[in-house]
């Protein structure tokens, strides 16, 4: 079974240490093969030909030697949902019918989607804020693939993509950010408006059209043509650092202005997680968000930030069913989710108020 891959840890995988505010960094490159229509316009036979060509090319690329490849048709509903929840594939790819595939690197940092909106979507994902190494890896993978496959490329317009909004570099660089300070102080709309002016988009946890559950936002470049990859990344990076500053400022201010209320919220969140018997994923996300915040303030030990990050994914509906080993209906999922959280937070200490006083 494909999901066995996720219950057995990877050889080289060590648990990454999480940092405040920034959860993960991702770069996605959109590429198409020459002489084939883009997936949205292709016949099934053409999609199959592209899939085979890409799978063959990818199997010899450096960095993907022990990778795992699968056709989306061969995945169960649950497997697809788990991949979406892990942010390895897009919700769009999970809905496709035939001729699409996924190649996942052994360390799970790279996931290549074949025949999503474009023939190839090369993605590299790392915890924390780390554009340098993520870009280096994505660039190297792309170069490796290009040595075996001819890309649709135009000297003036760059890499040709199904949607003109991805034209040029075909690059979407994004960061997943935890911004409870800006949400609670009702400043998030202002931030979204300001960064939109800079050609930067803010979306919810699962990309386009999704909610910002747990105060988690995906922030990415909107423009892909007219600037180099490094220029796009630098601009995004400086905006992100600014958002981190604003977030920290908002947190400090909340603590100063109404610290008791904030500590009440964080402390109750821990209480809920320790004692719940039924919990929906949205409530779990909000509680975990407050745990992460408390850990950032130094009111909970650091390991609870790591735990919150792990739980952000494990409380999602697909993952709850993965640990149950079978599809489970929504009501019972809430009970299984509560059981998991109760167990994980059993030994969680009381919130330590001293950082607020200091």
């Amino acid at each position: 079974m494909f999901h066995d891959l996720f219950t057995t840890p990877s050889k080289s995988r060590k648990l990454p240490k999480s940092i405040p505010v920034t959860l993960s960094t991702r770069i996605r490159l959109a590429r198409n093969l020459r002489e084939f229509p883009f997936p949205g316009r292709a016949e099934t036979s053409q999609k199959r030909a592209v899939l085979t060509k890409c799978m063959d090319a990818l199997s010899v690329v450096k960095g993907l030697s022990d990778s795992f490849s699968v056709e989306v048709d061969d995945l169960s509903e649950l497997d697809r949902q788990i991949l979406v929840e892990k942010h390895l594939i897009s919700p769009e790819l999970s809905q496709v019918e035939e001729g699409s595939g996924i190649v996942l690197s052994e360390d799970r940092n790279c996931c290549i989607m074949i025949n999503e909106e474009d023939h190839l979507r090369i993605q590299v994902l790392r915890p924390g804020l780390d554009f340098g190494s993520v870009w280096k890896l994505a660039d190297a993978l792309d170069t490796g693939i290009e040595s075996a496959i001819s890309y649709a490329y135009d000297g003036e317009l760059g890499f040709l993509t199904a949607c003109p909004t991805n034209l040029g570099t075909g690059m979407r660089a994004s960061v997943m950010m935890h911004l409870p300070g800006l949400v609670m102080s009702k400043n998030m709309d202002k931030v979204i408006n300001a960064v939109n002016q800079l050609g930067i988009a803010v979306r919810g946890l699962f990309g386009e059209g999704s909610d910002a559950n747990g105060s988690i936002f995906q922030i990415s470049n909107q423009q892909t043509l007219g600037e180099s990859e490094t220029a796009i990344i630098e601009r995004l990076d400086s905006t992100l650092k600014n958002i981190v500053r604003q977030e920290n400022f908002a947190r400090e201010k909340l603590l100063q202005d109404d610290g008791v209320r904030l500590m009440d919220k964080m402390s109750r969140a821990v209480g809920n997680l320790k004692t719940c018997y039924l919990m929906q994923s949205s409530e779990a996300m909000d509680c975990l968000s407050l745990v992460r915040l408390a850990s950032d303030f130094g009111m909970l030990p650091e390991k609870y930030r790591n735990l919150a990050d792990r739980m952000f994914i494990e409380v999602q509906p697909g993952h709850v069913q993965l640990s149950a080993g079978k599809p489970v209906e929504a009501g019972f999922r809430d009970s299984l989710r509560a059981e998991l959280l109760r167990k994980e937070f059993l030994r969680a200490p009381q919130i330590d108020p001293s950082p607020a006083a200091g």
Partner: protein, 162 residues
């Protein structure tokens, strides 16, 4: 920032989500009034693009990509192109869109080594083809014969590369 329609300073900045994609347009106050931006009820960036000029409209009305069959209507509706040839076919309607969508209209990023040498080669073939046509037009048949042979060789070479 300049107005999308004239050269005046843009003061109205319009953002609209069409088919899940964000589109932006900057307009000066006069153009904004003229295009009815003050009445958001029946406003669409698609329509604003439409009003760009009758010449674009008359050309685009019958546009269709012969390689994949995508029509201009389909592109307008779904915002997606069908194949690499579409970028050539729809270029006249695409250019003003790209201008509003991106930081610039020329690629400044990575150049794929293999694909580039193939693209460069194709561009040089295109150049010779143009020279040949010019030679024929000015009835320089000696030059034309020379260019025709050169083109022939290059086309054969391009088949071996592909």
């Amino acid at each position: 920032m300049k107005c999308h329609h004239c050269d005046k300073q843009a003061t109205v900045h319009l953002t609209q989500i069409l088919n899940g994609q964000m589109h932006k347009m900057d307009l000066c106050e006069t153009c904004a009034q003229e295009k009815g931006v003050t009445n958001p009820e029946n406003l669409s960036i698609g329509n604003l693009m439409e009003q760009d000029g009758a010449e674009v409209d008359s050309v685009s009305g019958s546009m269709v990509c012969e390689t994949c069959g995508t029509t201009h209507q389909e592109f307008k509706k779904g915002g997606r192109l069908g194949c690499e040839a579409c970028y050539h076919v729809f270029r006249p309607v695409l250019d003003p869109l790209l201008d509003g969508m991106h930081a610039g209209v020329r690629h400044q990023g990575k150049v794929p080594a293999g694909s580039k040498s193939r693209v460069d080669f194709e561009q040089s073939i295109e150049l010779v083809r143009k020279e040949l046509q010019e030679a024929v037009e000015r009835e320089d048949f000696e030059k034309a014969a020379e260019l025709r042979d050169k083109l022939h060789d290059m086309e054969n070479e391009s088949k071996t590369i592909a």
